[in-house]
Amino acid sequence: MIRDITIGQYYPVASPIHRLDARVKLAITFIYIVTLFFVDSFIGYFFVMLSLGAVIASSKVPLRFMLRGIKSIMVIIVFTMIINLFTTKGETLLLEIGFLRITWEGVAVALKMSIRLVFLIVGSSVLTLTTTPIHLTDGIESILKPFSKIGVPSHEIAMMMTIALRFIPTLLDETDKIMKAQQARGADFDTGTLKEKAQSLIPILVPLFISAFRRAEELATAMEARCYHGGENRTRMHVVSIGRRDFVAFAVTAVYVCIIFLLRHAAEIVPFWI
């Protein structure tokens, strides 16, 4: 399951979306997420879907990679749906089983909430699938840089993210190896009471932590040997620069935001379920 999480899984193809500056993509994704909460009509969601579809199509990343992220949060989506379905107070009664009342309004809210979640995940997947982790962390570092004057360690945060991303596959492999080694010694991770199951994790977690600390120490030495001394006077191989392409992206985003707000007012004059 941990492998299904799309975050940090870059999909390498050449597309206009891939070529956008990471900071621009971060900013647009942020705007997109915020505006998502201003959408409250189905016609609005239809428009978001069309726009998102257009972006995905031009990113050249297969749709199933975009949708993979949904699988890991399916539980949350279903849970949100159920809660909203039963707790929304409405007038047009659809179904009544005992004390449970389902109304048209409830169905509408439940649907809208889950659609919003799906769009949120797919939208951020566009960012992570079209941006290499290194550009992403560089982008974050660059955006946070102005805040370093008030004590935000922007370089350190970015370096930590890079190292975490670098070591995730290594530690996953390591976990797999340790599990197999303990299974070969008769460890059982599947059966037993909750307490026994929790205890059975100790033979995995202890070696994993020890190994992670050993790796951290060796990595720190190796970084020092390569003259690492923090972010001061450090240059980068890739110099980020905002080009015409990025201004076009911002213009498109501006149009998008305007339409979202127009549609919001359109919803005031048409019935709620549209």
Partner: protein, 288 residues
């Protein structure tokens, strides 16, 4: 000018031992008055078993450890001088044993750029150095790969490229092949020898594999923190009994030559390769 020169180099550290609830401090000597000198362009192997002090010596060259006695100079720069530490690390790069624990970035070329970025080199120059370094270790087609998809030998070559991009005069390799399979070992050793031969880079190879030391210009054997043997591979490896005493091996052919000499056969003691062995045997057969 000597590339690396150690004079009476000593390193002491304190180990806390807990026994029966009582903590005592023990003073241990990892290096005792070590004298080693390496010329520019040389290929020097430092042999010794685990815990002999050879890795401690390696870390001194990179100023990762500071001597507690004596002095070590890298290109006449005293490693005790804190102001020179970055110049020393740039001049004498270091490659470590575990290929996984020395790569920082998620993309090969970004990792190679890490060193020059730390040195504050201009970005167009970094790009050029990264491309050159990839070419030097023959890994150009892997530039955009993620390190976790590479074999152990390939990862070590990337680590070497990462050092090369800092334009060092000398590379110190601390047991670079200990965790590799035979193919990976061959890849790494060929790369290191080529860099020494073609680029004139001084190589200091720390190892316990005698077959890797055979091709060096000079060999130092360290045991219990002290240099116990040094000379050309032929001079060092003909001391079969002494080497075994230090917990080291000799090549199989060297051992056979040693066994034959004990039986009174006048075969040279300094045989190191299959070809030398075959040649010596054929000659003996025809002269007797």
């Amino acid at each position: 000018m000597k590339m690396v020169r150690a004079q009476q180099l000593s390193y002491e550290y304190i180990k806390t031992v807990e026994k029966d609830g009582v903590t005592t401090e023990q003073k241990l000597q990892a290096l005792k008055n070590v004298n080693i000198s390496v010329e520019k362009g040389e290929f020097v192997a430092v042999l010794g078993h685990n815990g002999s002090g050879k890795s401690t010596f390696a870390k001194h060259i990179n100023a990762l450890l500071c001597p507690t006695g004596g002095t070590l100079w890298v290109k006449e720069m005293d490693t005790k001088n804190e102001e020179l530490v970055w110049d020393i690390r740039q001049s004498a790069g270091m490659v470590f044993q575990n290929p996984d624990n020395q790569l920082v970035a998620t993309v090969v070329e970004e990792d190679i750029a890490f060193g020059p970025e730390n040195l504050g080199i201009e970005s167009s120059e970094i790009r050029k150095r990264v491309d050159d370094a990839l070419e030097q270790v023959r890994m150009t087609e892997f530039a955009t790969f993620t390190p976790s998809k590479l074999s152990g030998g390939q990862k070590q070559r990337i680590a070497i490229a990462g050092v090369l991009a800092m334009k060092p005069d000398c590379i110190v390799l601390d047991e670079p092949t200990a965790m590799l399979d035979p193919i990976g070992r061959r890849e790494v050793m060929e790369t290191v020898h080529r860099l020494n031969r073609e680029e004139g880079i001084t190589i200091i190879l720390i190892t316990h594999y005698m077959d890797e030391a055979v091709r060096a210009d000079r060999v130092y054997v360290i045991d219990d923190g002290d240099v116990v043997l040094n000379g050309t591979p032929k001079e060092v490896f003909s001391n079969v009994e002494a080497l075994k005493g230090y917990g080291l091996d000799v090549p199989q052919v060297t051992e056979v030559a040693y066994l034959l000499r004990r039986e009174g056969i006048p075969i040279p003691a300094d045989i190191l390769t299959v070809e030398e062995m075959v040649g010596a045997l054929c000659q003996l057969r025809s002269t007797i």
